[in-house]
Symmetry: C2
Subunit: 408 residues, 2 copies
């Protein structure tokens, strides 16, 4: 008898009919002889509606009260789901984040999970119940309600799986799993059956929007094996687990793309030291997340630095950097480029398979696609291309590594 945590997002419980569908799935899993804990988001649209009401009252509502308000969304969906399970003749019980023992710390609206005391959850499981917990929320030691920010329900599910020592945590979503590339871009993209945590992290942070990085990091830290799968069908999904020898046989696991990128380049830097710190501090103060960083020295002996960021942040970045330029050197100047995209190639096999970078850039060159900035990690190679080229770039790289023939 296995213990399985299943997480369903807002669209999976978005209507009463869909809630019934989730109830059936939970019962099915239970009837297969498993003990089952569900972690549930608010019905889709509810959280936005609540935030809308708050903004009707005031422009910047206090975050403590926003949490108080938003937490009602999951509290409603867990009650309705338990009703649906009960209606189908099975025992079930709902728990808010606080009741499920999810203890949080940090800031309101972006709380962090400190620990989970699953005493009540385990008691209810021992009592034969399907247990339905509110995702996205927890409670501080002082009893204040926290929400966990974007992707919070995934995090709740992974953390609950760790706390109850679940055999598997299934993250149900609206896609069949993690693909070798976005199937809307590369038609013959394949679902990846197994990924390592590191690969999933690189996929997550380089544009595959399936899960937030912090949930994957949490799973990695506590060794929670999880599966990303579709709540609308019974297809097996993508299992994410510790890296193993077999995974290294494939040099590249997948290709991810990120659109709406922009580049800022600061040139003419003659300030001898600390110029990177000056630039990055100015951007951080403006709360701009930068992605790739490339620094080098030009033929004239002056340094130049380039960054990529989301296109929406470009204006703010220019405004933040302008006052810093005089401190960087008398000829310091800034140039910008919008209309970029980022292509990333990910795989733990890169470590042991040589020539991956060469294959990537040969494929792009043969297709006549110009590359811009390049950044690498141990298991990832990223490059910017013109936005107009990103789809073709993804297709030729996908083909170059035969990712349409993936089987294991």
């Amino acid at each position: 008898m296995a213990l399985i945590v299943q997480k369903y997002g807002g669209s999976s419980v978005g209507t009463i009919d869909r809630i019934r569908n989730v109830a059936r799935r939970l019962i099915e899993t239970h009837e297969q002889g498993n003990r089952v804990v569900a972690v549930i988001s608010a019905m889709s649209g509810v959280t936005d509606k609540l935030i809308g009401m708050a903004h009707q009252v005031m422009d910047n509502p206090p975050e403590r009260e926003l949490d108080m308000l938003m937490a009602t969304g999951e509290q409603q969906s867990i009650a309705l789901l338990v009703m649906a399970i009960t209606d189908m003749g099975h025992k079930a019980v709902s728990f808010t984040g606080a009741q499920a023992g999810i203890c949080t710390y940090g800031s309101h609206t972006r709380g962090r999970i400190e620990s989970i005391d699953p005493e009540k959850v385990v008691a209810a499981l021992n009592d034969g119940c399907i247990v339905v917990c509110a995702g996205f929320q927890g409670v501080t030691r002082e009893g204040a309600i926290h929400t966990l920010g974007r992707g919070g329900s995934d995090l709740s599910a992974i953390a609950m799986a760790a706390a109850v020592r679940a055999d598997l945590c299934q993250i149900f979503t609206d896609v069949d799993g993690v693909y070798t590339c976005d199937p809307r871009v590369v038609k013959d993209a394949c679902k990846i059956p197994v990924l390592s945590y590191e690969e999933m992290l690189e996929m997550a942070s380089s544009g595959s929007k399936v899960m937030q990085a912090r949930s994957v990091e949490f799973a990695k830290k506590f060794g929670v094996v999880f599966e990303v799968r579709n709540s609308m069908n019974n297809n097996p999904g993508t299992i994410v687990q510790e890296e193993n020898r077999a995974m290294e046989s494939l040099a590249v696991r997948g290709v991810s793309i990120e659109r709406n990128q922009a580049r800022v380049t600061v040139s003419g830097i003659t300030a001898p030291v600390a110029y990177t710190s000056l630039i990055l501090s100015a951007l951080a103060e403006a709360e701009i997340n930068i992605d790739m960083i490339v620094a080098n020295t030009a033929h004239d002996g002056m340094a130049r630095q380039s960054f990529t960021m989301n296109m929406n942040d470009l204006g703010a970045a220019q405004a933040a950097l302008k006052p810093v330029l005089p401190q960087l050197g008398p000829k310091a100047a800034m140039e910008t480029e919008a209309g970029l995209a980022k292509l990333s190639v990910v795989g733990v096999g890169m470590r042991s398979n040589s020539g991956v970078a060469a294959r990537v850039f040969r494929a792009l060159a043969e297709a006549g696609i110009a590359t811009g900035m390049i950044a690498t990690s141990e298991i990832r190679i990223s490059t910017t291309v013109e936005a107009a080229d990103i789809e073709q770039a993804a297709r030729v790289v996908h083909a170059a590594f035969n990712l349409d023939q993936i089987t294991a």
Copy 2:
């Protein structure tokens, strides 16, 4: 500096604008130098909508989950109200029933308050906050969420006032206070400035729908002085407190009416003992609340008993009593009368003023109104009349006691 608890019902917080209105009132009270605790219902319509969703899922939703679902209504309104107060530049904080320390026992959907530990409420008051608590809800020692059933928010407010030793508990509603009679029926009905708990209880249980009896009983038990007043204006309301000498000067404090009454009479009872118990047990098992009970022995030596009840329960009462008749005697029979109403005259002064009953029935007789069953308590006289006569009955009795000239 006084400590004041203010309770606002669902219609007082039914829209964002009304929530702002409540925020202004709380701030006003705070700025007058008082410490303020608000106890708030869900926005009007929200609880019904939630129950509607539950019934979309299943016919008889488990009550534990109904409580889980319904409790979100107040959790939303308290957060929105705190936002409105904050927006007006004042410090405020919201607490769910559980956070406010409202500990309950009993059944789901009709929990009872066991105790209140106001530690967090008091700390927030000491911190200069206007404290906003969710009414209608609490939490068991085991951490399960309870709602308190009809009138639960009034009860929350009275109990909170007792726990924090408030100087006054103001129950804001959509009427100016308790009237000598329903002003829709008796045009010159007056607001009663001061009432005793006992009078309020008799008014409540004899048809004045302002507050539920259990809240008044709770206030009486813990000596909580409360005021019923209107959330839409600044008129002083009706203060309800311990009986005092001054109250006895008026023989009658008010007249209340209750429509939709029906009578069941069982006659021909020859069973020597326990027939009352047989009849009442049968009605109790069918969950029928009976109101007046009159028992006597007819000229033929056979006993007869009559009861009044809400007209909606008449069919069920007949069904419940039919199988019992054979046990009551060979000639036992049942007759029923629908289309009745009940008139009640209430006042602690009845104890020391003689002739109140005579004045009531003389006024009715002079108006040609026939009376049916009569029941009395120490401070109340009730009689049934034909439904068609109830408004005129109220007017003539109201006039007979000069209740339009009430001043203190």
